[in-house]
C-alpha cells in the first residue's frame, strides 16, 4: 500500500466515524466503560501487589524501650542490638517523634497527648539484613534489658503472607478474566456496528475493491474507537487515583508501606488502556468483517 492510499484510508476512517453517528457513540461508550473497569481493577490489583511485596520485604523491627530508661542505658541497648549478626541498621526515634507520626497518620486529635502526657515509648527501629531474619531479631531483642517489647512488621505477617498470596493468584485470574471480558465486549460492539454495514461492504466488493482496500478504513475506524474510547477512562482513573493516593498515603505513612506513586504508574496504566483499546478495536473490526468479504 502506498502512502497515497493510506492517506485515503485514514481520511475515510475519520469520515466514517463521523457519519456513523450514534453507532460511533455506542461503540465509544462500550469501550469506555470496559476500559474504565480494566483501569480501576488494574490499579487496585497492582497496589495490592505492591503492598504485598512491601510487607514481604519488610525487615523492620521496632524495639520499644522501657519508659524511664536513661540515655546511657539506651546507648548500652543500642550497642547490644548492634552486636546481633542479622542487624543491618539501627535508627533511634524518640517518643516525641513517634507521636508526630501518629498525629500525621491518625489526626490532630492525638495532639492532646503531647508533652508529659505522651504515652508512647522511645524506639529503636532495627533493620534486619533479610526479611526472614526479622522474627529472630525481634525475639533476641525482646530478651534484652531495657526492652519493653519488640514488634516486627510481620507480627501478623505469617497470616498476611497467605492472604497476600491468595490475592495475587486471584488477582492474576481476575485480570485475565477482565481482559477476556474487555476483548469480548469491545469486539462485540464493534462487530454490531459492522454487521449493520454488511451491505455496504458487499457493494464495495461489487465495484472492484480488494479486501485490503475495504478492510483498512474499518480497521482504522476500530482503532480510533479504541483510542478515543480510552480517553474518558484515563481521565477518571488518573484523577481518581491521585485523589485516593493523597488520602490513603497519609494514613499508610506510619506503617512504612507505600502505594505506587502516581507518576510512572499512571503513565503505565494509561498506555496500557490505550493499547488495549487500539488493539482490540482494530482486531475486533478486522476480524468481524472477514465473512462479508467473500461476495
Amino acid at each position: 500500500m502506498n502512502s497515497l492510499t493510506f492517506k485515503r484510508h485514514l481520511i475515510e476512517s475519520f469520515k466514517s466515524l463521523k457519519r456513523n453517528g450514534w453507532m460511533t457513540v455506542a461503540a465509544l461508550s462500550a469501550v469506555a466503560v470496559t476500559l474504565l473497569l480494566v483501569g480501576v481493577l488494574l490499579s487496585v490489583l497492582m497496589n495490592i501487589n505492591k503492598i504485598a511485596s512491601d510487607i514481604e520485604n519488610d525487615v523492620q523491627v521496632r524495639v520499644l524501650i522501657n519508659r524511664g530508661t536513661s540515655k546511657k542505658q539506651e546507648n548500652t541497648l543500642r550497642q547490644n542490638l548492634a552486636k546481633l549478626d542479622e542487624v543491618k541498621s539501627i535508627r533511634y526515634s524518640s517518643k516525641k517523634q513517634e507521636l508526630k507520626d501518629v498525629i500525621g497518620s491518625y489526626g490532630k486529635e492525638f495532639k492532646l497527648f503531647s508533652g508529659d502526657d505522651n504515652p508512647l515509648n522511645d524506639v529503636f527501629v532495627v533493620k534486619a539484613k533479610k526479611p526472614k531474619q526479622t522474627v529472630k531479631v525481634a525475639k533476641q531483642a525482646e530478651k534484652m534489658k531495657y526492652v519493653y517489647t519488640a514488634k516486627y512488621g510481620g507480627a501478623s505477617a505469617k497470616k498476611l503472607f497467605k492472604i497476600v498470596d491468595n490475592i495475587r493468584t486471584w488477582g492474576i485470574g481476575i485480570s485475565l478474566l477482565l481482559l477476556f471480558v474487555a476483548v469480548f465486549l469491545i469486539s462485540n460492539t464493534i462487530r454490531i456496528t459492522i454487521l449493520s454495514r454488511k451491505d455496504e461492504i458487499g457493494i464495495m466488493r461489487l465495484v472492484g475493491a480488494t479486501n485490503g482496500f475495504i478492510r483498512w478504513p474499518f480497521i482504522l475506524e476500530g482503532a480510533w474507537t479504541g483510542l478515543f474510547g480510552a480517553i474518558v477512562p484515563i481521565i477518571i482513573v488518573d484523577f481518581g487515583y491521585v485523589w485516593l493516593y493523597r488520602i490513603l498515603s497519609a494514613s499508610l505513612a506510619s506503617t512504612g508501606y507505600h502505594l505506587l506513586t502516581p507518576g510512572t504508574f499512571l503513565i503505565q496504566i494509561d498506555l496500557l488502556l490505550i493499547l488495549i483499546g487500539i488493539i482490540i478495536g482494530a482486531l475486533g473490526s478486522g476480524l468481524s468483517m472477514r465473512r462479508f468479504l467473500k461476495i
Partner: protein
C-alpha cells in the same frame, strides 16, 4: 470478450439459466430482453460473479470464472463497469464519493479522480448533486449516479441492468447517447432492458430470454421477434 459455454443456473426451484452458450465480442452492443423473471439479471450477475453458475463455463476477458479465486474477483470487476438494477450506491458516501470510490479502488490519483468524477457527473447531468447523499436523491437520479460510477473508470465492458428503468423518455435518450458514444470508442455494452422504444429505435444485437432459456439471438433485432 464474454463467453458462456453450457451455463446453467438453478435456484431452489427455478432454473434461471438453461444451457446458455454464446459469445459477445469486444466492442459489441447487446440488448438483453425478456419478461420479468426471465433470467436477465441472473445472466448479468454471473458475468461479474455475484452469482455463480450451477454448471458450465464463463470467460470474461482473461478470467475463467469457474477457476477464479476470491482475491482475483476484484480484478475481474475492475475491467467491468456495472450499472445495478437496484443501483447499489454506498449510503454513507456522497454522490461525489460514490463515483470517486470506483476510481480510488483502482489507485487513481486524487486530482485525476476529481476531474473524472466531475466529467461523468456532468455527462449524466448531476453536477449540482455532488454533495448529496443517495437517500436525498430520486430513483432516476440514483440510477444516473450508478451509471456515472460504472463509466467513470472507462472500463472495457459496461454491463447495465435496466439503466433507463426509472428515467423519463428524454433522460433515457440522453443516457443511451452516452452508452452509444462510449460503445463507438470500443467499449462493449451489455444492457438488460424492458424499454421497447429504445430497442426498436437504436438497433443492436438482441438476446431474448424466456423462463431461463435463450429464445432469440439476433443482430439488429427488434424488441420482439418480428419488429
Amino acid at each position: 470478450m464474454i463467453e458462456f459455454t453450457h451455463v446453467y443456473k438453478k435456484y431452489d426451484n427455478t432454473t434461471a439459466a438453461a444451457d446458455f452458450t454464446l459469445q459477445i465480442k469486444q466492442g459489441e452492443f447487446v440488448y438483453v430482453v425478456g419478461p420479468s423473471g426471465a433470467g436477465k439479471s441472473t445472466f448479468i450477475k454471473m458475468m461479474y460473479h455475484e452469482e455463480r453458475p450451477t454448471s458450465g463455463k464463463i470467460k470474461i476477458n482473461e478470467f475463467e470464472l469457474d477457476k477464479i479465486k476470491n482475491h482475483e474477483i476484484p480484478y475481474l470487476r475492475r475491467e467491468l463497469g456495472v450499472v445495478f438494477q437496484d443501483f447499489k450506491l454506498l449510503p454513507r458516501m456522497t454522490v461525489f464519493e460514490n463515483v470517486a470510490y470506483a476510481l480510488q479502488v483502482i489507485g487513481k490519483k486524487p486530482a485525476e479522480i476529481k476531474e473524472r468524477v466531475e466529467h461523468v457527473l456532468a455527462l449524466v447531468g448531476l453536477v449540482n448533486k455532488a454533495d448529496s447523499f443517495p437517500s436525498e436523491l430520486s430513483g432516476g437520479e440514483q440510477q444516473r449516479i450508478s451509471i456515472a460510477r460504472a463509466i467513470a473508470k472507462k472500463p472495457e465492458i459496461v454491463i447495465a441492468d435496466e439503466p433507463t428503468g426509472n428515467l423519463d423518455p428524454g433522460t433515457a435518450e440522453g443516457i443511451m447517447d452516452i452508452l452509444e458514444r462510449i460503445n463507438q470508442q470500443g467499449t462493449t455494452i451489455v444492457m438488460a432492458t424492458h424499454n421497447s422504444t429504445i430497442v426498436n429505435e437504436r438497433k443492436h444485437r438482441v438476446i431474448e430470454i424466456e423462463s431461463g432459456k435463450i429464445v432469440r439471438d439476433q443482430q439488429e433485432g427488434g424488441f420482439s421477434e418480428h419488429e
